[in-house]
């Protein structure tokens, strides 16, 4: 057992399986008391079970750590408050919040139903907001807090068939950037992780879809045999961001895949055209190919 997080109290949402489970175990290993939150539903958000969260708690306790299970849904404002209050009631405070909970309902946008949109945005984006909102009130008062949110390459780069998931995940990236500025001065840091790992969520991408993409030269994740993609590999960087050594890292996004960790850029002007006064559309059309157009490729060119 390490002691980097001795006396700290953490909440990890979606901690029953996959990436969240790995984070909960490592936080506990470093001495934090952990609220293991998981609704225990299927990948598409249906059903619920307290078993996954209970199993992680048992694993932590067997290793000599402190943990308690919680099965509330992050998607409900009131239930999310109960998740945060579970930490306060059971362990006296909340220092660390890790927002991993999420579901998937992939569809091309022209076939995406209102319910598939709402359900995915509600768990990921609203769920992350709900937990951040309730935890931040405590963290601001105690002038200490560490929040790590989960964004995705799906939103950062755009994955076909994931309008709901990609929007929610890029929304979480925006939430992270805003909230890091709302809370930084109170000693709270807010960062985001874009993970790549083989879990039951990525297993939903069919072999056929992977083959089609590979033929077109579009990445759908290389075969697992060639690239390390263990869900447990995401945990060390997440836990590092909660330690005292990372107290100045705020408002950043890190891409983590196996032993590869990258700092991602903030968007910035890549090329600029300027004139005094207003451009006309004709002027822009004339200048575009020799300015902005030089850098551009259509990510999905027209198929005739």
């Amino acid at each position: 057992m390490g002691d980097r997080l001795k006396d700290r109290v953490a909440v990890v949402t979606g901690a029953g399986r996959g990436i969240g489970r790995g984070i909960a175990l490592l936080l506990a290993h470093e001495g934090a008391a952990v609220v293991v939150n998981d609704l225990g539903g299927a990948v598409d958000g249906s059903g619920s079970s307290s078993t996954p969260a209970d199993e992680v708690v048992t694993t932590i306790k067997n290793a000599g750590g402190r943990a308690i299970a919680n099965a509330d849904s992050v998607a409900e404002f009131g239930a999310a408050e109960n998740i945060i209050n579970t930490a306060v009631k059971e362990f006296g405070r909340i220092d660390i919040l890790i927002n991993v909970a999420g579901i998937l309902r992939d569809r091309m946008i022209f076939n995406l139903s209102e319910d598939d949109w709402d359900a995915v945005v509600k768990v990921h984006l609203k769920g992350t907001f709900n937990c951040v909102r309730h935890a931040s009130a405590h963290m601001r008062q105690q002038k200490f807090g560490r929040i790590v949110n989960f964004t995705s390459t799906s939103g950062l780069y755009g994955n076909s068939g994931q309008a709901n998931y990609g929007a929610a995940k890029d929304g979480i990236a925006g939430l992270t950037r805003v909230v890091s500025r709302d809370l930084g001065k109170y000693g709270v840091t807010v960062n985001a992780i874009a993970p790549v790992a083989a879990t039951r969520m990525t297993a939903t991408v069919s072999d056929q879809a992977r083959e089609t993409r590979a033929k077109r030269g579009i990445s759908a994740g290389a075969p697992a045999s060639r690239m390390r993609m263990e869900p447990e590999d995401i945990a060390p960087m997440v836990v590092y961001l909660t330690t005292d050594g990372a107290k100045h890292i705020n408002g950043q996004t890190f891409l983590v895949r196996g032993g590869v960790i990258s700092l991602l850029n903030y968007p910035a002007p890549a090329r600029t055209i300027t004139k005094l006064g207003r451009w006309s559309a004709d002027e822009i059309a004339a200048i575009f190919p020799s300015t902005f157009g030089m850098d551009l490729a259509n990510p999905a060119p027209r198929q005739d």
């Binding site: 945005v121 909102r133 009130a137 939103g155 939430l175 700092l263 575009f288 259509n298 999905a300």
Partner: protein, 308 residues
Amino acid sequence: MSGMLDGKVAVVTGAGRGIGRGVALALAAAGAKVVVNDYGVDIHGNVPSDAPANEVVNEIKKAGGEATSNGDSVADWNAAEHIIQTAVKEFGRIDILVTCAGILRDRMVFNMSEDDFDSVLGVHLKGTFNCMRHACVLMRQQKYGRIITFSSGSGLFGNPGQANYGSAKAAISGLTKVAARDLGKYGITVNSIAPVAATRMTLTPEFLKAREIRKQQGIIREERALAQLEDLKPEDVAPVVVFLASDHATNVNGQFFLCAGGSVSLLSQPRAVKTIFKADSAWTLDELDEVVPLTLAEGLVNPAPPRE
């Protein structure tokens, strides 16, 4: 009239005022028939009115253009379908969708109510999705379409006090990137504008007061660009939208443009700026303690450092 959009049919949401109004006028001037959609509410989303949309329609008609007004709320799935159907019923098709509709309810995150979060996301994010979803079905069938969404520097760069608005606008950027990839092969492009302009949403009493305090504290100087927000006209954003809606921009897809007066920038896509890697295993905490400060975190600046 430049005629760049002759024969095209456009829907502009939030077109009753500000940037959306400028876009509707410019699209019409370029030859497009325009559905001028505006729910007509105040900037917090209250008190609907038909007047703003009707005024813009009158302006377009007086200038010799074609337009019809619509007062539906983009935030409602079925009402959004009705907005798109208005284009089909009145003008026979829909070629161009520009989603400007939005509201603001700024609060620090620890004081933000659930309703303030839901309302802002409902209009911006769900509203953009709703209109896009209904329009793209028709655009896919006709193998032609132009969708221009509105993102914001608030979500891309992070503005304090806007957890709702920044989330919604960043989510629109994710939606834009995915939709560009879902729809590109059907001859549809999806791009986004991050505008900076003086409108009722930006030149708020709170903004003017905050700017005055910053000036007094010497944090911003008079000559800085921020101090001249009033000079950045909402109409300045429209020419880029007209260009993106035209056949000149057939292969411009999934891109983001920052528009502020006469300054137009193509924004960079996300990319790794620094990477550490191990070939065969994950990093351990001991290793990260040692390596991260010298690599990934080297030179990082906390955008809101703690006040002791």
